[in-house]
Structures are given as structure tokens and as C-alpha cells.
Symmetry: C2
Subunit: 693 residues, 2 copies
Amino acid sequence: MMNGRGLVNRLAAALLALTLLPATAAHAEDGYALWLRYAPLGGDALARLQGFAPRVERASGTTGGPMLAVAEAELARGLTSLGAPAKTKGSIRLDCPRAGGDGDGSFHIRAVDARTLVIAGADHRACLYGAFALLRELSLGRDPRAIELDERPAMPLRMLDHWDNVDGSVERGYAGRSIFDWWRLPDHLDRRLIDYARANASIGIDAVAVNNVNAPAIFLEPRFIAKLRRIADAWRPYGIRVFLSARFSAPRDIGGLATADPLDPAVRRWWKAKADEIYAAIPDFGGFLVKANSEGQPGPQDYGRSHADGANMLAAALGSRGTVIWRAFVYSAEDASDRAKQAYADFVPLDGQFADNVIVQVKNGPIDFQPREPFHPIFGAMPKTRLMFEGQITKEYLGFSTHLAFLAPLWKEALDADTGRGGTVAGMVRRGGMAGVANVGSDRNWTGGHFDQANWYAFGRLAWNPSLASEAVAREWAAQTLGRDAGFLDAVTAMMLGSRQAVVDYMTPLGLAHQMGTNHHYGPAPWVCDLARPEWNPCYYSRADAHGIGFDRTASGSDALAQYAPSVADEWRDPKAMDEDYLLWFHHLPWDWRTRSGRSLWAELVHRYDRGVAAVDAMAATWDAQRSHVDAERFADVAEDLKVQQREARWWRDASIAWWQSLNGLPLPAGAAPPAHDIDHYRALAFPEAPGI
Amino acid sequence: MMNGRGLVNRLAAALLALTLLPATAAHAEDGYALWLRYAPLGGDALARLQGFAPRVERASGTTGGPMLAVAEAELARGLTSLGAPAKTKGSIRLDCPRAGGDGDGSFHIRAVDARTLVIAGADHRACLYGAFALLRELSLGRDPRAIELDERPAMPLRMLDHWDNVDGSVERGYAGRSIFDWWRLPDHLDRRLIDYARANASIGIDAVAVNNVNAPAIFLEPRFIAKLRRIADAWRPYGIRVFLSARFSAPRDIGGLATADPLDPAVRRWWKAKADEIYAAIPDFGGFLVKANSEGQPGPQDYGRSHADGANMLAAALGSRGTVIWRAFVYSAEDASDRAKQAYADFVPLDGQFADNVIVQVKNGPIDFQPREPFHPIFGAMPKTRLMFEGQITKEYLGFSTHLAFLAPLWKEALDADTGRGGTVAGMVRRGGMAGVANVGSDRNWTGGHFDQANWYAFGRLAWNPSLASEAVAREWAAQTLGRDAGFLDAVTAMMLGSRQAVVDYMTPLGLAHQMGTNHHYGPAPWVCDLARPEWNPCYYSRADAHGIGFDRTASGSDALAQYAPSVADEWRDPKAMDEDYLLWFHHLPWDWRTRSGRSLWAELVHRYDRGVAAVDAMAATWDAQRSHVDAERFADVAEDLKVQQREARWWRDASIAWWQSLNGLPLPAGAAPPAHDIDHYRALAFPEAPGI
């Protein structure tokens, strides 16, 4: 039985803990805290932390600085919130002698004795990343004195690309408005940008391109450089360098020159002066991200120059100070052969011509962030060029922020793919990096859907270490963000892991792609066939008619297959032997073609649509059973979104099946439900207000 | 000295209080809580509340219901947060027998004995408003047992108009994105909309028009009615009815008709059916807000019909169920006489022709929400018509959300004005109401600038009771929102009260108006004189040249003065005798004209610009001295904004003076500082990214 004094102490401690709680934890569970929620530990994990009871201290030789201060503040915040007692016994020692964050951030964590855990590395960046890693481990309930980590990043650039416009809109943004309030910068810096930097640092993100690749030149004007400087200053302690999307025609647009020809001396001087001006304001400016000669953007080809000419000119302007990231996402209005082949055809011949500080950024697949694509054939085909993997975190093609789709398995499919040319895709970007098109916005929960936070998290974790398993990433995210109950984590992790395949199944099964509505990309529109450029039309991708469906990319068709290494091409050449997930990507087949299941192609297609719909129903049921494990607020939000997803999965399935039936005249396979409406109903739907355009 | 048990009790109570704290109060002070912060009381006020220690109970005869539940929940939340003890002694009795909220919301609060305070009125709406009123009084530190209130609203409609677009942008919005996420409705209702309703209910707002008056017809489509229904259902317990801005040409745009002629039987049937459709979904739908034949919007004049024909047709469609609010903000492309005269000329002849359920909505002044205008001459001139006062809470013309300008004095100038026709402006709208163009958005603090919350608050309070003094409103807002220290409140209230005059002085002193930049209305542009329509140009309003400045609206000029009652016109006819705040609104005068100060008009103008700049400097100094009284977060936000305002006040002053000098060639008065730049500098500034267009 407790005496008065003991009770006083207990109550006083409880009071203190509440007072010290990070603001977010005591706040309504609106999702703002992300995975940095540091919910109080319980049971054995709490007892172990209380037994350790660490204070944070510096090793001799480690001095303070802005980045170390961030690490120390985060440890204090996290430890308190997790439940570490105020009266300390053990210690966490920060041993990162070099001030600043120039190193690669490699760190190790280990116990040097029963009471001392050390986070060590070359410089403050190591302690920054180590602090977040330690808090993650603690948050997962690990025994603090048994934690041993030895980590180094797999690639130098781990980046987020914002497609944010100057007016606050976000291209392909489904989470409110841009987090960058250009209008009020530099006078006012929204606190949100600090929490954004914290979240990024916690997963090792070290670079952010702040503006849309379809950028106006205004971002290069002096008053915008002042705005960017305020952001760069705020993010520097979090180890994040800013990049700017640069409009290639800027010398003409705002520089008063008559040309933007990259070989013109006046153009070269203009960019050099512009780079000098930026570096005077932002000494660690990351560099330029450029979308050139693609979808109407200006570029070196306007002057008969190559992508290498353009990129190298900008690289010379930056010099050793920064990097040009040049996007390989190009397809030309004139080439009607196969859009999937064009980036390879344009870029591979340039291998070896790019300057050392140029990185070519290549999308995960050869078309455009579809629910499933084979990996991009450029990976492995440009050994003398630094390459970067571009993934899309925002779900332009996977149900916006309303559909639950965990994307780690999508990225892993590409990253783990053996290129057949000396390594995996992940190995091919180890001198470059990974860039993800950001999914954050002004919504209080950052990403619109709560589970979309997991995609931001997973992208950062995979850029740090592409060999992490999707399951491990899902589980650690859910445990930090939602709750730690083991049964809950089993259920939610399984739901997350199957979610992307569900989207593939109800939207574009069996290797189909690009069947969505025009411009906004909302909902199914496989019937669209009248847009000006052939490759803008869903019919271009499905090639469906009365006889069959699919895009022949073998030697009898576009022969895009030949862009892959022979060992890879061999995997996909024979429709009978291949992984049917890519079947219609590479082959045009008759409707009655026999799939491995024994079903006809038509029946298999319907089967997969139905499987996708059923999977979403199962997800909704899974979630519904978790009510007791999640706060009411987020539980209801997710449940609402899943209802939408159930409805829209059916819409995709029904509209697609109705359209294919209108072409092939086939009856539905036995047991398959007819579409809820006729094809005219689906074709008549219009959504002029759809977001993200 | 306290024994163990006493300490335990104290600590336990503190712990409980912390636990029960509303989420927002324990959260970072980001402004989300608005004036419903319920910061814990201290000192005598806390002791009095603890001595009263009320529980909330219902009088016999008062039964539960959604609206009463809101009142009860808010009382519980507020009392706990203010510091009422868990162990109760006294009681707050809710005595509102009729369920629902059909009444006008009149309530009284008084003690029936030493332990019992009663909130009473006809129906649940009375208890809703009474609950918020009681919490306001308690939050201001009043002795609970001495509170005696007897309140009734001054007018039936107390309304906010949102100029929010379907894509999430907000016309003249400076606080982020729209709070209405039309895309995700009706599946998802943002919790923010509930807190918005709470805040509105707390100040007596009972109606909200959810979409921009420049509305596309899409809002009348069935799927948008479903979205609106979700909002209406959510707001009903808070006593708020939804209104929809309706596009007059909807029968043509979406109805398949060839005309929108209000006298066409098919058009009348279409609107009747549309109204029936809306009422089937929303039984208490408020009605339509219409901007017709103004700034390019369609209207009855397109068919040779009058505003009354158009309004009455819609009124017939609504019937007794709802109200048509018809805006008097019109000016025609053809009439070059004086824009200030046109609404009067168009509408006054129609007095007596409008149906009983039509309200004509009239802006506070005859032009357009300028920093200062005389009251609109329609007020008092349409005795047979229900009128509504339209004010602009969002600061389109008063520095966006970055300048601190408390608008109660602006509205009060109009509301308190004697029309000379049997009452004040406030009296003229007692059968109609007041509508304010909302200033809220997705920014975490709702309004962009923290002090802009005060304008939302003040608008609601004045609509409830226009005879409240600006000072009282400012003080009660600041006490609830920022802090209760008396010295702090003296300083901040004084700063707020002078702030709007400061804007008038540095932007458009002495009755000048409409001198801002084209389209975005950001910053000074008195030189603009080349826009297509004369009344779009600042030069149209200043009429400045080498010889003088000002708009002659006397009999020798446009004679707009004649639209006012003779007693009012007499006040403004003689420039020597009149209030010089309106001088150049009504008179064109030579630069060397002698003002009452003894200074020439030119010297007086410069003096007032300087006075405005000095006032902002003084505001910044006042705020800087309050550091210890406000949380660090909001202190810094406001200090940053005031820096911007100091810079922009100088910009307005310098650019204006430079321009007038370029016209009049006069030297600066002795002691006046020359503009920082020459006129070409100011004319060259461009802000293509300015918000709110």
C-alpha cells in the first residue's frame, strides 16, 4: 500500500509528464504528429525505458551546433513522451565530433556499458539520424540497452520533389494546398515547414525540390531567391538541402536574352551569374531540377541541342557547388511508335556525355507511375551516367488520397528487379538517389488520407535502405503512428501489404495501364480514343477490339522488349511462361486465350477485377475490426475513406467490364455480377471539379 | 503548511484539470481555438467559479435534443477548462422547453437563488446562445452568481458569405484554401466544419452562404445538393442554416432550357422543381443568394426584366420555406456618370415591388468595401423593402491578412449613421440582417492573421447587437483569445481601435478611395488610368491633376450627394464645414485649398500619410511590449506581420506621394521625408502571384 508521500511523488511525476508532453500527443489525434507521435510506452517496454532512464549528454570532443541541437531536442521530446522518468540513471551519449552535416550520415548505436548507449558518427548529421533511429527503436518497444545499429545510407540523394505551384495549388496534390506560402515568405515562415523538416530528417530525406517541374521562371527572380533562402535557413539544421525546378527558357523569360540556347555564351553567362546569386544567398543550395522538352516545357532541343548539352551547361553554372537533376521523362509529339520506348531511345545514346554533377532522373517504369509497370529499361543501360529513381508518392493513378494503397511493394518491385546488366535497379542508383513526388499538403494530417503518411515514410526508409522489406516498413510505421498492439499490427500490416495489388486488380489488372479519365485521371475511362495525341488515349494502351486486348511490345509489335537485357526480355517474351501480372503490357492476346489459371483471358480479367473489389471489401472489414485499437477520430476518417474506395473499386470494375463487353460482345463468366449500369452511364459521368490538375 | 493528504488532493485536482482540458488548450497556441480558448481562470475569478462550482442540469419540461446537447457539451468543456471543480455545489439550469431552434434565440440568464443560475428562453436555440454568452461572461472573469443578461438579436439574419470556389480557391481569401472540401463531400466531413459552426454559434451567426456569389451552376446539381446536405445536417445543431449562391442562368446552363427569362413559365417551373429538390434534402435550407447583372454575371436584365422580376421569381420558387438575398452591388458597363450612384438608381425605384421573402443586400458604402466610405444611400431610401447590410470581413482593400486592422469601427460608422430618413443604418436592416464576407480559410489559425479573428468575432457580435461599442467588442475578444491582464488589454484594445484609421491614413486619407493595384488589389497604384472601363481605374476616383484632387459629388459634379436625405447631404455639402475624413469623396479641391488644420490640402494629405505610417510604428512598439503577456508562438506571428505592415505602410505612403508630386509638381511640406524611390520604381513593381483573385 502506498503512503501519502509515495502517492505525492507518483502524482507529481504524472503531472510533470503531462506538462512535458509534446503538444501534439495531448492534442486531438488529427494525424499532424505523423510517425513522430511517441505515444507513451506501456508494460515491459515502459519498465525497460524507466529502468534505463537516460539523460542525453555529449561525448568529450562533441560540441554543440544547430544540427546537434535538433538531435538533442528530439531526444528530449521523444524520451519524455515515451515515458522516460525525469530522474535519470543511464545516459545516451552523442559522439559526433565534427560540427555541421557534410558527412553521409552513417552512424552506429551501441551500448558501451550497462548504463550508457552511444550514438556515434563522423559529424552532427550522424547524430541527427542516429537520434531519430534510436527513438524509432524505442517507440517499437525495443530494449534500450540491447539496441545495436550500424547504418549507412544506400545512396547520396534521398529526395522529395514538390509539384507545388506559386499560387498554392499542387499538381497531382490531394491533400489541400501547398505547404509553401510563397506569398508570405520570406517575412513569415509557417511552423509547419519545421515539422515537415523534422519528419523528413527522421527518415533520412536530405533534399527537397520545392516547386513544380512545370515551373515558371519567376522562381529564379531575386525576391523568390530571398523566399527560398528563408526555407533553406530553416531546414539546414535538419540536414535538408533545397533544390529548385528551373525553367530552361529563363534567360529569355526573365533574363532579357533573345535565346536560351545552351551553347550561346550569353546564356551560359546568365546561368552562371544566376547560380552565383543563389549561392550568395544559400551556400548549400542543392541545384536545379529540370523537365526539358517534355509535355510542352522548353529545352535544349528547341535549339537543336541534346539533353546532355542542356544539362551540362547548367552543371557548369553550378560547378562543384551543386547538382543538375535532369528528368528522363520525355515523349515527343512526333514519334508514334511506342511511348514506352522513347526515354530510352533519347537518353541511352547520351551515356557518358553527362557531366559528373548531372544526375538523370528516371521514373520507376517506362510510362508514368501506373499502378503496375515493369521497371524502366534505362536502369542498367547507362552505366557511365549517375541515375536517380523517381517514384510518385502522391497517388495520381492509384485513387488519389482516398484509396488506401501502400506503395512500398510497388517501389520494391522496381528496386529489387535485376536489370540483367550487373545489378538491381537499386544498385543502379547508388551514385544518384531516389526522388519521390511528394504527397503532402496543408491538410492537418499532411497527406489527405491517414495511410498516405505511410507512403511518405516508406519512400524515405527505402531511399535510405532499399533492401528493407515492405512488411517491416509497414509494421514499424503503423506501430509508431497508430498503435502497438501485436494483433492490430498483424492485421493492419497485412491489409497494407495487399492494398496496392487490390488497386491493380480493380483498375488495370494483368498488365493493363493508363485507363483513367482524361486530365484529372479520376476514375475509369477505357473508351477514350479521341484525344489529339495517340499516347494520351486509353485505347492506345489497351489496343482492345472485338478480337483481343493488350499492347504487343515483342518483336512482332513495338519491340520495346528489346530495350531490356536479354535475360530480362526472356522472362517476358513468352505469354505462356511469364508472370501474368505483366501479360498485357507486353502482349496483345485474343479474348479466348488460355491463362495459367485455366480461365480464358476474358474470364481471368473479370476474375481479377472481382478479386480487387473483394480485397477492398476485406480491407474495410479488417479496419472495422480495429475500432478498439485506434482513436475514434482517425478510425472514422479511415472508415469513411474505405467506403469511398469500396464504391469506386466497383465503379472501376463495372465500367471497365461494360466497356470490354461492348467491344468483345462476350457474356460474363458464370457467377460474375453484371455491371450496375450500362456503358452509356459510365461514359456520361463528368467531374469538372476533380482536384490535382 | 500543507500535509501529505492536502498536497495529494491539490496534485490530483491539477492532474484531473490537465486531463480534462480541451484538446486545443493543451495544444500549441496556433490560434485554432479562436476566442473559445477558455484559458484557466486565476485569482479571484477562479475562486468565485470554484465557490459556485456548477453542474449543468435541465429544468423540468426541458427535454434533450441535438441543439441542447451542443449547449450542454460546450458548457461542460468551457467550465472544466476555465477551472470549475469536479465536485459540484451550484447549478446552471437550462430552461428552454421547446425542442428545436425555430425561435429567434432571445434568452436571459439570471440567478434564481444563491446556488442556481438559469439560462432560459423559448426553445433550444435560446439555451445554445445563452450557454455561449455565459461562458463568455465567465471567461471575462465575471462573478457567476452576479451575471444577469437579457438578450435578443437585433435582426433575424446574421450571416457569413463565403466567396469560396468549387476548386478550393477563395476569391479575396488570404487564409489558405477554402474550408469546404467539395471534392471529398459528402463522404467526408472535415471536423473543422464543426468547429466553424461552434465558433459561429458562439457569436450568434445563424446563416452561411457556402459558395462564391460568382457561382457556377454546378452547385445546383444533385451531387452538390448531397454535399450541401451533409453540411446542413452537421450545422443544424448549431443553429446555422445554409444558403447557396445561385447562378441566374442555371436553367440554361444545366437545365436544358433555351432561356433563363424569369417570366418564362418553363424557367419558373425549373426553379420551383429545383427548390423542391433541395428542400427534400435540406428541410431548413435558407435560400438563394444572387449576384445578378453585375460584373459579368447573368441576370434578369439579360431578358429586359427588372431585378424585382428576377428576385420575385426565385422567391416564388422557394415560397415560405426560404429567402432570396438579392445583391444591390451593380454597376453597368454603359453608365459612365458615377459608379457610386448606380445601385441607388437601379434599386430605389423598385421599392415596394419585392416579395416578402426577398431581402436586398446592400454594401456598407456605395463603392466597394473601401477603407472608408460614407454609408450607402440606399439605406433609408427603400422603406418598403427588407434590407441587409453587407460588410467585408476579409480585408480585400485593407492589407489582406497581413495588416492589422480591426474593422468594428468601420462597420459601426455605417451602422450608427443616421440616414436622415427615420433611423440609423442599423435600424434600416432590423427586418433583414447583416452579412459579412467571410475571412476564414484552411490556415490553422483560420484567418491568416491572428487579429483577423477579431473581425469575424466583431461582425457576429455587431449583427447580434449593433449598439455594442467597438471598444467593448475588442476588449472581450482579446481577453478571451489572448490574455486577461488588464494592462495588456488596455494596450491591445487601444491598438485595435486605432488600427483601421491607420490603414485609411497610409492608403487613402481624406476620403480618397480605390487607389490599389489592378485585379489583386495589392499595394498602391494611383497612376493606373488605362483599364477598359473608366470606373476600374484609380484615376477615376482620385480625379487628380496638376490643379487638384478629389471627386466632385456635389451638384456641380455627379450630385451623388442628392441621393442622401437632405439633412445628411447638408453635413457633407460644404468642404469647409464637413468632417474632413470624407472630404475628397465628395469634393474636388485645389492642392492649395486650406484645410481646418491650417495646412494646405497637399500638406494635410502628406501629414495624414505620415500619421498612418507613424501609427503602424506605434502599433509595432505596443505589441513588442506585450511579449510577456502572450504565448511565444502567436507573439512572433503578430510581430512578423507588423513588420510587413510597417514596410507596406511606407510603400503606400511613398508611392502615393511620389505620384501626386508627379502631377502637382509641389515640393514636400517642411519636414516630410522624400519617398524612398522615384515614381518609376513603384510603377514597375509587379506581383503576378498575389493571392485572392
